[in-house]
């Protein structure tokens, strides 16, 4: 059933996910998902709440298994390597993540927050190099102009939208290959949301983005590909323009018409 509605992307795939199952205790939250995620594109993961979207992307950087009782089965190939057999710490250096609520480290300055991926690992950087990384990451996150004069203030002094972009900068600073975003705008006002959406479209030049959203319009605005999840199954996957105009599965159609809420 799933096979005919899941389209292979035209671009080369960075993630090749094969028959993925994720469990909380005995209960499967993800059932047999097979999917290829194209490189340097924005892929939206969409679906009603409780459909396993978040669980799915938490599998992609192995955060899922930190939940007590959680378990993963199947294969997730990142450029051909199965990340489930890799050191999770290494996986997470290559697959960054931005969370629902902005979570800058409260004890650190803006500057240190951006460098957290280095500092927390005890990696010593030369001063110029550190400055360069901070500026580059903040520019990419479209935050540089707003904070360049207050780099040594606490990250928690920023507004919610700025904090979220700081978290994006923090994730970008370690130069990941993939950036996972778990409903990054759900805690933000419309103006900040628009900024983040612009940013997402811009960022795909340098990094692959997988973004979870329950907001249909947002998926339509930012993504090149869309995956529709329902009750832990991948119902449909394809180019966003196709999926939105001619959904192949009835459930996708109903969701797009707003029938699941």
């Amino acid at each position: 059933m799933a096979a005919e509605t899941v389209v292979e992307p035209r671009e080369p795939a960075i993630f090749d996910i094969r028959d993925l199952w994720a469990y909380y205790g005995e209960k499967p939250a993800i059932r047999s998902v097979t999917l290829k995620i194209p490189e340097k594109r924005v892929t939206a993961i969409m679906g009603p709440s409780g459909c396993g979207k978040t669980t799915f992307i938490r599998c992609l950087n192995r955060l899922h298994e930190l939940t007590p009782g959680a378990r993963v089965q199947g294969e997730i190939l990142l450029r051909g390597e199965n990340i489930l057999e890799m050191d999770p710490v290494l996986v997470r250096r290559r697959v960054g993540m931005v969370f629902q609520r902005p979570n800058p480290f409260p004890t650190m300055t803006i500057y240190d927050n951006v460098l957290a991926g280095y500092k927390l690992l005890g990696i010593k950087l030369r001063r110029e190099e550190a400055d360069r990384i901070v500026e580059e990451a903040l520019r990419k996150a479209a935050l540089w102009d707003e904070v360049k004069d207050s780099l040594h203030k606490r990250g928690t002094y920023l507004s919610g939208g700025q904090q979220q972009r700081l978290c994006i900068a923090r994730a970008l600073a370690v130069k990941p290959e993939v950036l996972l975003m778990d409903e990054p705008t759900s805690a933000l006002d419309p103006k900040s949301t628009a900024k983040i959406e612009e940013l997402v479209v811009e960022l795909k030049q340098s990094v692959t983005i997988v973004i979870v959203t329950h907001n249909i319009a947002q998926a339509g605005r930012v993504s090149d590909y869309t995956a529709f999840f329902y009750l832990g199954e991948l119902v449909e996957f394809g180019p966003t323009s196709h999926l939105f105009t001619v959904p192949r599965d009835k459930r996708t159609e109903e969701f797009l018409k707003g029938k699941f809420g």
Partner: protein, 281 residues
């Protein structure tokens, strides 16, 4: 109507009874503070803080060695209790699942309830007896055991209050768990953890019973942890039950110093906790 009248009268009576009973115990407590200040402040002088005690019959002298000894005991005890206590707290908050965690928590609670004089006996049997003589170290061991449960439980509670998203933020950057604990969680909870440590310090600095047969007391200056050492509470005790007026006067003086130290630590930790509650972050 009569029913209502009686009920209201009873309500009033109960209020006054409670008010009186609630305020009465303030009398002795305030009188203690008054006694310490009145008797104690009079005997304070520069000499009192920096000098050794004099033999009975001679005027003057001080408790400098006891102040130094109390500080030394507190530092030694902290050196032992803080790392162990904080890491035990980390274990309970971050790693403990199921039964064993419960056993550790119960152990901490049991430890908290052990009378301090019993810990004195234990420190005597563990340190004094094998070494063959009394020492500051043995006193610090007893005090460290008293500090442990407070530090363990407060660290656990503070770490549990830190939102899960902060751990995930660090882990998602590819930071390993131990660095996440040491560089994200502990710094974030630092104020709360320090509050617990200060409270436990305040609790042990006034302890006398576990020092009677461990630190023992020493009329001279001593900075060697392997030798007996004087401590303020010991001084208060020894002088208070002595028959010499001059010594009794010094007992009051020593108790002002001790009370100020303990209350100061208490107040400071409360101040930290207050900042954590409303103002920090």
């Amino acid at each position: 109507m009569k029913g209502l009248f009686w009920r209201k009268l009873k309500d009033r009576l109960a209020f006054f009874l409670i008010l009186i009973l609630a305020l009465l115990p303030a009398l002795p407590l305030i009188h203690i503070l008054y006694g310490i200040l009145k008797q104690g402040l009079a005997s304070l002088s520069w000499e009192f803080f920096v000098h050794l005690s004099r033999p009975p019959g001679e005027e003057g002298g001080g408790v400098g060695n006891a102040i130094l000894g109390t500080v030394m005991l507190a530092v030694l005890a902290s050196l032992m209790a803080v790392p162990v206590g904080v890491l035990c707290g980390v274990y309970l908050s971050e790693y403990a699942r199921g039964k064993f965690g419960e056993v550790v928590r119960i152990s901490a609670d049991v430890l908290q309830g052990v009378p301090s004089i019993v810990l004195g006996i234990v420190a005597y049997l563990w340190v004094v007896k094998p070494m063959g003589h009394f020492s500051a170290l043995s006193g610090a061991v007893a005090l460290a055991i008293m500090m442990l449960p407070v530090i363990v439980r407060s660290t656990e509670e503070i770490l549990k209050m830190i939102p899960e998203t902060l751990r995930e933020a660090s882990l998602a950057l590819g930071v390993n768990y131990w660095r996440t604990v040491l560089k994200v969680l502990i710094p974030t909870g630092l104020v709360g953890i320090s509050t617990g440590i200060l409270l436990s310090l305040a609790r042990i600095m006034g302890e006398t019973a576990p020092l009677l047969f461990t630190a023992f007391g020493n009329p001279f200056w001593n900075l060697n942890p392997l030798q007996p050492v004087e401590a303020l509470p010991l001084t208060v005790f020894k002088y208070a039950i002595s028959p010499y007026e001059e010594w009794i006067r010094q007992a009051w003086g020593a108790s002002v110093v001790l009370t100020l130290m303990v209350l100061g630590l208490n107040l400071f930790s409360r101040f930290l906790a207050w900042r954590l509650g409303g103002h920090g972050r």
